[in-house]
């Protein structure tokens, strides 16, 4: 049986990442960014094997969908990203400014190798869920390429740590993590009653019209909600991620069963506070309206997109302001 590139990458990640989590730390412990001279190199383990990269890269190309925002959380500039023009309004002003001057080197899932070479990166970074081995090989002809995998698609903790190691900014990553952990624990303690008194769900639009989706703990936001914040999902929510997408799509006729007992519904909204029409359609459906969360009005849209420790901390801040604080009164 021939495995798909995505499956191969996922399997490779599952096997290799636990190994390189150890070895990468060892690499980082060697020539650290602040101590190494310009022109030095370090060897890092990646999903596709060991790669020699500059110890202090100066021209970073981030070519997966979430990778630029993860690099942004290290305060490292990027010289090239995929084109976000069509989605740009859904990003914050800070994010828009961050990619404004970067070369646009293709679109989601379709890298323009010529444009990427023209950006003259000294390192290319991305994740294994969008970059298969064949693409990695082509990218490696342009510049040293580090493809990270994490344990699953939404494992932003491991993904960012591996990226930080490859970019020689592990210290910055560690500080962001430290700040995040402190804020997370503070909020969990302060609002422990609200958190434990409620049953939660994070829903969004589905794959087809007439469907809705649930963000699973294997996805970025679901990971933060369930694993990090300890918000308990409703018992009717299936947590298996059979597709490996980090979410699962269901028919609207299942919404009563799946969200049964859920007392707080979280969903996504745009930075300007508007809701995507497809999500609004789910909320407006008669089956959603007969749910407890609709009757109590406890449905909240959050606009922060979770990709790293810094954005996770911002998400917690938004959750606190919009949800936990009002519910605590």
């Amino acid at each position: 049986m021939r495995l798909s590139p995505r499956l191969r990458a996922a399997l490779a990640a599952a096997v290799i990442v636990p190994l390189f989590a150890v070895t990468a730390c060892a690499s980082a412990a060697g020539p650290s960014g602040s101590d190494s001279a310009a022109g030095d190199t370090v060897v890092v383990d990646t999903v596709y094997g060991e790669v020699t990269v500059p110890a202090e890269p100066e021209r970073v190309a981030a070519i997966s969908y979430d990778t630029p925002w993860q690099v942004m959380s290290f305060d490292v500039p990027v010289v090239a990203t995929i084109d976000y023009t069509q989605w740009i309004d859904s990003y914050t002003e800070e994010q828009q400014a961050y990619v404004a001057d970067a070369a646009k080197v293709g679109s989601y899932g379709e890298i323009n190798f010529e444009a990427l070479a023209g950006a003259a990166p000294d390192i290319i970074v991305g994740d294994a869920y969008e970059v298969d081995e064949a693409t990695f090989t082509r990218l490696s002809e342009i510049a040293p390429t580090v493809i990270v995998g994490g344990d699953e698609r939404g494992d932003w903790q491991s993904l960012t740590e591996d990226l930080a190691t490859a970019l020689g900014v592990h210290g910055t990553w560690a500080k962001a993590k430290e700040s995040y952990v402190a804020r997370r624990d503070e909020v969990k303690e302060q609002y422990a009653d609200v958190i434990s008194a409620n049953t939660w769900a994070n829903f969004s639009l589905g794959d087809e019209a007439g469907q809705f989706s649930i963000q699973l703990p294997t996805g970025s936001t679901g990971n933060l909600i369930v694993n990090e914040m300890g918000l308990t999902y409703g018992e009717g929510i299936p947590l298996e991620d059979e597709g490996g997408f980090g979410y699962a799509s269901f028919s609207l006729e299942q919404i009563g069963t799946i969200l049964d007992g859920v007392t707080v519904g979280l969903t996504f909204e745009n930075p300007d506070g508007t809701m995507m029409p497809a999500i609004q359609d789910v909320i407006d459906s008669s089956l959603f309206q007969q749910l407890e969360i609709a009757k109590t009005g406890q449905v909240y849209g959050l606009s922060t997109s979770v990709t790293d420790y810094r954005s996770a901390e911002a998400w917690i801040d938004e959750l606190t302001t919009k949800v936990l604080e009002p519910l605590s009164k």
Binding site: Q86, S90, E208, A209, Q211, E242, S251
Partner: protein, 346 residues
């Protein structure tokens, strides 16, 4: 089933309507029953009956009336519309490959709906339907003008023109849907070709509009039957060729526009159903039209049910399912000697 005719040639013996019609009707009733009764959420017979006859606003009532009934109605409307449009197109163009999806009609309707959603911010079915009519009509005219007239007119040229126009229109739809992320999400959900996500009111409207289109077909059906014999023969027998062509053109635009606005672009129904029926009933246009009204929904509801179980708990959009089923038929048709030699449905 063949019989020896008086001229010595073997002729196919066609099954009687008295036998086939009840069977097809029974199959359609079963398909409708399955579509309403079976879904991801299991409902008891009592719940189903109560939802259909005396709804009181329970969850089961909402599932049946707001999810399953609209889905079934859209399947019936789109299936009938696309299958009948396929028969008319194949007869009018005398081209066995003519089909709303292949000849760019659905793509024209799709682009028009995209314009309505992205440029004008119109998203409800009642409004987008008018755009779909216009898009279907313009695309039909464009394909007919480029590929169906002049000395070089041929089956291949018309089909290739349709494919080319469909590709251009689909590309324009994609480009348009990428302009605005919010619209993109709406287009993404609609563009795969799916029966779900419509309200009961929209589904009822789709049924009504398709019904009007079918009434028009009833009016022009005798003329279409004559046209199937060839234009000269039709004229010699008193047929009003121009009026029938115009009526057929309007019927195609109404049927394909309504189907596309309701369910998104669904291809191959207009190819699969007429050819399957032709294999059973032969070239009798009257029977093809009647049975298309029944067999189109049967195919679409079957494909939808199959798409719901093949990779459960995920589902495959019905537009993808019909493509899976229709592509092999298209290849077989293209390779068949009959199409190459005769070039028209007999």
């Amino acid at each position: 089933m063949t019989a020896l005719a008086t001229d010595g040639r073997r002729r196919a013996r066609r099954p009687s309507d008295a036998i086939v019609l009840p069977i097809v009707l029974l199959l359609l009733i079963i398909a409708i029953g399955v579509s309403i009764a079976v879904g991801p959420r299991t409902l008891s017979f009592d719940e189903l009956l109560a939802a259909l006859t005396a709804p009181t606003g329970t969850e089961a009532d909402l599932i049946v009336r707001d999810v399953r009934l609209p889905r079934t109605f859209i399947g019936i409307a789109a299936g009938s519309a696309l299958a009948v449009a396929g028969v008319i197109m194949q007869t009018l163009t005398r081209n066995p490959l003519a089909e709303p999806g292949l000849l760019g009609v659905n793509a024209g309707a799709s682009l028009a709906v995209a314009v309505a959603i992205v440029v004008l911010g119109v998203g409800d079915f009642g409004s987008t339907m008018w755009f779909a009519f216009a898009g279907a009509a313009i695309a039909s005219a464009l394909v007919a003008l480029i590929g169906g007239v002049g000395r070089g007119a041929s089956i291949g040229r018309l089909a290739l023109t349709g494919v080319a126009v469909a590709a251009v229109l689909s590309a324009a739809t994609s480009a348009l849907s990428l302009i605005d992320p919010a619209s993109y999400q709406q287009m993404r959900l609609w563009g795969a070709g799916a029966l779900g996500g419509r309200s009961l009111e929209a589904a009822t409207l789709a049924i009504a509009v398709v019904g009007i289109g079918l009434l028009l077909v009833v009016v022009i059906a005798p003329g279409i039957g004559l046209l199937a014999l060839g234009e000269d023969t039709a004229r010699a027998l008193g047929g009003r060729v121009g009026a029938v062509r115009t009526g057929g053109f309007i019927a195609i635009a109404v049927l394909c526009g309504a189907a596309t606005a309701a369910a998104g672009p669904i291809a191959f129904v207009g190819l699969l159903v007429p050819h399957a029926l032709r294999a059973v009933f032969g070239p009798d246009t009257r029977r093809l039209l009647i049975y298309s009204v029944l067999a189109g929904p049967l195919l679409l509801l079957f494909a939808d049910a199959l798409g719901g179980v093949l990779i459960a708990p995920r589902s495959i959009p019905v537009g993808v399912m019909t493509a899976f089923l229709g592509a092999p038929v298209l290849v077989a048709l293209v390779l068949s000697r009959r199409v190459q030699a005769e070039g028209a449905p007999s």
